[in-house]
Amino acid sequence: MSDSRIEGYARGLFEIARAEGTIDEVEDELFRFARSYESSDELRNALSDEQIPASKRQAIVEDLLGGKVTPTTTQLISMVVGSGRSRDLPAIVDKLVARASTAKNLEVAEVRTAVPLTPDQETRLAAALANATGKQVNLKVVVDPSVLGGLVATVGDTVIDGTVRTRIEQLKSRL
C-alpha cells in the first residue's frame, strides 16, 4: 500500500479515536496489537489470508480482543482487517501513534524490553529519555524476549541500545 494510503488510514483512525475521546488508550492498545501482529506468524497469517472471508477474520479479531481492550480499538482493527489491509496494520498504527504524539507535542519512544517494566520504571525511563534527547517522549514499551535482557530505545532517528542481545552480537563479532 502506498504511503499516502497508509497515512490516510492512520489519519482516519486517529480522528475516530480522538472523537471518541479515547485516543490515549486506543493509541496504546493499537501499538501493542501491532507489535503482537508483527511477532506472531500465526496471527499474521490468519488475519492476512485472503482465502479466509473478511467476516471470519473480523470475528477472529473480536474473539481475540473482545473485553481486553476498548471497543474502539477492536472496531478500528476489525475495520482495517475487513478492508483487506491487515498487512499494513503495523505501518498504519505507527503513523497513528506518531500523529497522536505530534498532537501532544511528544516524540514517540519505542522501547523494547525482555521483561515488562513496572510503571515506576516506565516513568523514570521516560524522564531519562527526555533528558537524553531533549524532547518529551510518548513511551511505547514492547516486550520482546528476543532482546534477551536490557532495553533498546528508539526515539526518532536516535537508537540507544543496551540489550544483552546486542552485546552478545558485538562479542561474537569480536570473537
Binding site: L125, N131, L148, G149, G162, K172
Partner: protein, 184 residues
C-alpha cells in the same frame, strides 16, 4: 778279402788275386777302365742330365724366389695391413677419445642442465611449499578462530541466557535507565 787271406798276405805269402793290393785303391786296370768310364758317365750326365738338372734347379730357384717374393709381398701386405690396423687403431682411439670427450661434454651439459632445472624446481617447490604452509597456517588459524568463535558464541549464549534471572533483568533495566538519564 777275407780275414784268412789278409792274414796270409800280411805274413808274406802269395798275392791273392781276389784281393786288392791296397786298402784304398782298386786294381790298376780297374783304374784304367774305371776312370774314363767314370769321366764318360759324368760327361754324359753333365751333357744330358745337366741341363735338366740345371733347369730343374733354376725352376726350383725361381719357385723358391717366387715363394720368397710372395712371402715378401705377404709381409709387405701384412705390414701395410698392420700399419692400416695401427692407423685404424689410432683412429679408433682418437674417435674413442673424441666420443668420450663429446660424451663427457654432453654429460656435463646434461648434468649442469639437470642441476639447474633441479635447483629451479627445488626453489619453486620451496616457494610453493612455503606458500602452502602459510595458506594452511592461515586456513588452520581461520578455521580455528571460526571454531573458537562458534564455540565461544554458543558458550556465551548458554552462559548469558542461563544467568539472566529476574534480578539480572531488573539490574539491566535500572542500569539502562541510569545510563540514559546521565547522558545528554
Amino acid at each position: 778279402m777275407n780275414v784268412a787271406a789278409f792274414l796270409a798276405t800280411a805274413a808274406g805269402g802269395e798275392h791273392d788275386i781276389t784281393q786288392t793290393p791296397s786298402k784304398f785303391w782298386p786294381e790298376g786296370y780297374e783304374l784304367l777302365f774305371g776312370i774314363p768310364a767314370s769321366v764318360l758317365v759324368f760327361f754324359l750326365l753333365w751333357k744330358f742330365a745337366g741341363p735338366a738338372v740345371k733347369k730343374g734347379m733354376a725352376a726350383r730357384t725361381a719357385k723358391i724366389q717366387a715363394e720368397l717374393d710372395a712371402g715378401e709381398a705377404a709381409r709387405v701386405d701384412a705390414d701395410a695391413e698392420a700399419a692400416q690396423i695401427r692407423t685404424a687403431k689410432g683412429d679408433i682411439a682418437g674417435e674413442r677419445a673424441r666420443l668420450l670427450a663429446e660424451a663427457d661434454t654432453q654429460a656435463a651439459a646434461v648434468l649442469e642442465d639437470g642441476r639447474a632445472r633441479l635447483t629451479q624446481e627445488l626453489a619453486e617447490l620451496d616457494t610453493r611449499a612455503a606458500a602452502d604452509i602459510v595458506a594452511a597456517a592461515g586456513r588452520s588459524g581461520d578455521e580455528l578462530r571460526a571454531e573458537i568463535a562458534r564455540l565461544s558464541s554458543a558458550a556465551v549464549d548458554h552462559v548469558v541466557t542461563g544467568s539472566l534471572d529476574e534480578a539480572t533483568h531488573q539490574a539491566l533495566i535500572e542500569s539502562f535507565i541510569a545510563g540514559v538519564g546521565a547522558s545528554k
